[in-house]
């Protein structure tokens, strides 16, 4: 099996005058989970559409499973399973009929198809509803069936385009657990989302995309480090915190301080090591601390740092 499940280089796609994707490039390694994180309209779905051969890029190249992706060709497409953002199922057919239809299109033979349909129904916990029409399913069940249809042919790469949009929390948790389980079994996953916590939970590496450009890429730790994001110890104090801020200047564990009316925010390199000395220093300068909160940096702050706007703007 190739070590690279999919790669994009220099992707560019415009709709008229509007540039949807500009020079986007990334690699998803075999068995890796890669997240494309960005707000709505950032270019995630366009990128996915080009990667899956649904759209022809204006420039750039895509390879999936070692084969070049072209819209009219099938070589690369057989290596991927797409879970579209919409419920791409026929509501008037049963779950089993839907899966059999897509399985046949994937080239599965009769006996293999029967086996695989049963297996994926079990994976998404829909065995009991296999004979029911999809139109009778709840939103979460439809989403699970939507994922099942992409798993039938054992794709090397599973591409999920915002699979939890509009799903209730219980179904969402179930879907995320299922995807995590697929990852554990070695399936490469390309996951687009604008939910930061999903990217943090599921993805080995994350590409942050905004206004059609990939603005940063790496593991969560790498991204946080790259933009200089550090944990913050937020102290609520009685009185003026300026004295304490001055006392902390030059401390090797302290990166910076920020003074408010009754609050002092202290960016530190390691909150576990820095907390005790901070409190000691406060006692030393006579500042009474009434509250302590440690805030770990997250992708939201990375996105804010990189783009100047919140992820959900």
């Amino acid at each position: 099996m190739p070590t690279v499940a999919a790669s994009c280089v220099g992707l560019r796609k415009a709709y008229g005058d509007r540039l949807a994707v500009a020079d986007v490039g990334f690699t998803v390694h075999a068995g890796e989970s890669y997240g494309l994180l960005g707000p709505n309209g950032a270019g995630k779905t366009t990128t996915i559409s080009v990667l899956c051969g649904l759209l022809q890029a204006d420039a750039g190249t895509v390879e999936v499973g070692g084969a070049p992706m072209r819209t009219g060709r099938c070589d690369a497409k057989q290596h991927l399973g797409l879970v579209p953002q919409d419920i791409a199922l026929y509501p008037d057919l049963t779950a089993r009929e839907n899966l059999r239809f897509f399985g046949r299109l994937q080239g599965l033979g009769r006996s293999e198809l029967r086996t695989r349909v049963d297996e994926v129904l079990e994976i998404v916990a829909l065995e009991d509803r296999a004979g029911d029409r999809v139109e009778s399913f709840s939103g979460g069940m439809k989403r699970r069936c939507n994922i099942a249809a992409a798993l039938l042919h054992h794709p090397q790469l599973l591409v999920l385009d915002e699979p939890t949009v509009g799903v209730d929390p219980q179904s969402r948790a179930s879907i995320l657990d299922g995807i995590a389980a697929l990852q554990e079994h070695g399936m490469a996953v390309l996951y687009t989302t604008h939910y930061m916590e999903e990217a943090q939970r599921l993805c080995d590496r994350i590409g942050i995309i905004d206004e059609g450009r990939l603005v940063a890429e790496g593991t969560q730790t790498e991204l946080l480090a790259a933009v200089g994001q550090h944990p913050v110890v937020r102290l609520t104090v009685d009185g003026d915190p300026s004295g304490l801020a001055g006392a902390l200047a030059g401390d090797p564990l302290v990166v910076r301080t920020s003074v408010g009316d009754d609050r002092l925010e202290v960016a530190v390199t390691d909150p576990a090591r820095a907390l005790a000395p901070l409190i000691e220093r406060a006692e030393h300068v006579g500042t009474r601390i009434s509250g302590v909160e440690v805030v770990e940096p997250d992708l939201e702050s990375v996105f804010l740092h990189l783009t100047g706007k919140a992820l959900r703007d």
Partner: protein, 393 residues
């Protein structure tokens, strides 16, 4: 239980297999939603039945036939008299002059004219001359009715000859035959039956209209699938644009053939319409559906919205239906429109059915018409498939 260890190299299905899978899905959904049954079977039958009732049972429109007696002998006058009595269901006007009869046909005073040629009586005792037919190409069915009558008369030449011989034998004085008013042969020409034989046009017309309307079904499906995301999923698997086009055309073909067979069977068995030999009728209907399936591929590939699919489908249905004569029992427009209309698939198929009708020709003689239908279908499919490649390739 998640099982991913058995990662296999998937094999793309052949384009034909993918197309068949797509077509089977379309047919299944059409049957399940009952839309196929309603639009392709119930619709044409109901419309055909209404037209049949409007024209008086299943007898079909009445042909007005002129008879021209150029032989002017007791025998020919007897044949005219018999025809006059037995063609009572359709008015018969007697003309004595061929030019006058031709003008009447051209001016549509009559639908067709039967001509008893000069020398007809004498020819009965050697090689009987056939009755000739003056027809208006824009009125195919009456022309075929007249041809069928001529065939019926020709098939009863022995009876006509026998009547002439008997009169001559009984009257030993052998007066000049011109002195005998008329010699009535004991022939029967059931005009009602002959006209009823062509009543299939009443069902064929509506059938073609509904088949045309069905052309857009595949286009509407594709637009809907594009909107709902299933098309994206289909395209993300190993299905080529040509397989998409083929699947769509096969789906339309299967639904069209099912609808045609249902209308043919019900109109024949329940309403008594006589289409002709079953095998020949089925061959013509299949050729027509091949033609329309090809045309449907163009609409499917070109329509980007349901409104476009709807508009182009209606344009096809009503334009081809009107100028091809499907609305008027085979009647076509005069002039250029009539010429263009005669080349529409529905008009060509109608012509094939009429020519194969009672007293008509065999399948081999309409092969050029059938070939034309198939060629139109194949060429239209090729164009549609290429458009599909340009759209999705």
């Amino acid at each position: 239980m998640i099982e991913l260890d058995r990662v296999r190299a998937t094999r793309s299905p052949s384009a034909l297999r993918a197309a068949l899978v797509l077509a089977a899905k379309d047919v299944r959904r059409g049957v399940r939603s009952r839309s196929l049954i309603l639009t392709a079977v119930v619709g044409p039958l109901v419309l055909g039945l209404i037209m049949a009732l409007a024209f008086g049972g299943s007898g079909g429109p009445k042909a007005t036939i002129a008879v021209v007696d150029l032989d002017a002998t007791p025998t020919s006058r007897g044949v005219v008299a018999v025809l006059g009595e037995q063609l009572a269901e359709g008015p018969v006007s007697l003309r004595t002059d061929l030019t006058d009869a031709r003008r009447a046909v051209v001016d549509e005073e009559v639908d067709a004219a039967l001509v008893i040629p000069a020398g007809y009586s004498a020819s009965l005792f050697a090689q009987p001359l056939p009755l000739q037919v003056v027809r208006n190409n824009q009125r195919a069915i009456p022309g075929e009715v007249a041809t069928a009558i001529a065939g019926e008369v020709a098939s009863q030449s022995d009876l006509i000859r026998a009547a002439s011989s008997t009169v001559v034998a009984l009257d030993q004085t052998q007066p000049p035959l011109t002195d005998v008013g008329e010699i009535r042969p004991a022939i029967t020409v059931d005009i009602g039956d002959l006209q009823g034989a062509f009543s299939a046009a009443l069902y064929f017309g509506p059938l073609t209209i509904f088949l045309f309307l069905g052309l857009g079904g595949a286009a509407r499906n594709l637009v809907r699938e594009d909107r709902e995301g299933t098309l994206a999923r289909i395209r993300s698997v190993a299905v080529s644009p040509r397989a998409l086009a083929t699947g769509s055309a096969i789906g339309v073909f299967v639904q069209g053939v099912l609808a045609s067979l249902a209308v043919y069977a019900v109109s024949s068995l329940v309403f008594g319409a006589r289409w002709g030999s079953p095998v020949e009728v089925v061959v013509v209907l299949v050729a027509l559906v091949v033609s329309l399936s090809g045309l449907s591929t163009i609409i499917t590939a070109a329509a980007r919205t349901e409104a476009q699919a709807e508009g182009w489908t209606n344009a096809f249905a009503f334009l081809f239906g009107v100028i091809g004569g499907s609305f008027f029992g085979g009647a076509q427009f005069p002039g250029l429109l009539g010429v263009i209309g005669s080349y529409t698939p529905n008009a060509v198929a109608m012509r094939a059915l009429v020519e194969l009708g009672p007293g008509g020709q065999d399948l081999a003689s309409v092969l050029p018409l059938l070939a034309a239908l198939v060629v139109v279908g194949v060429v239209a499919f090729a164009v549609g498939a290429q458009l599909m490649v340009r759209r999705f390739g």
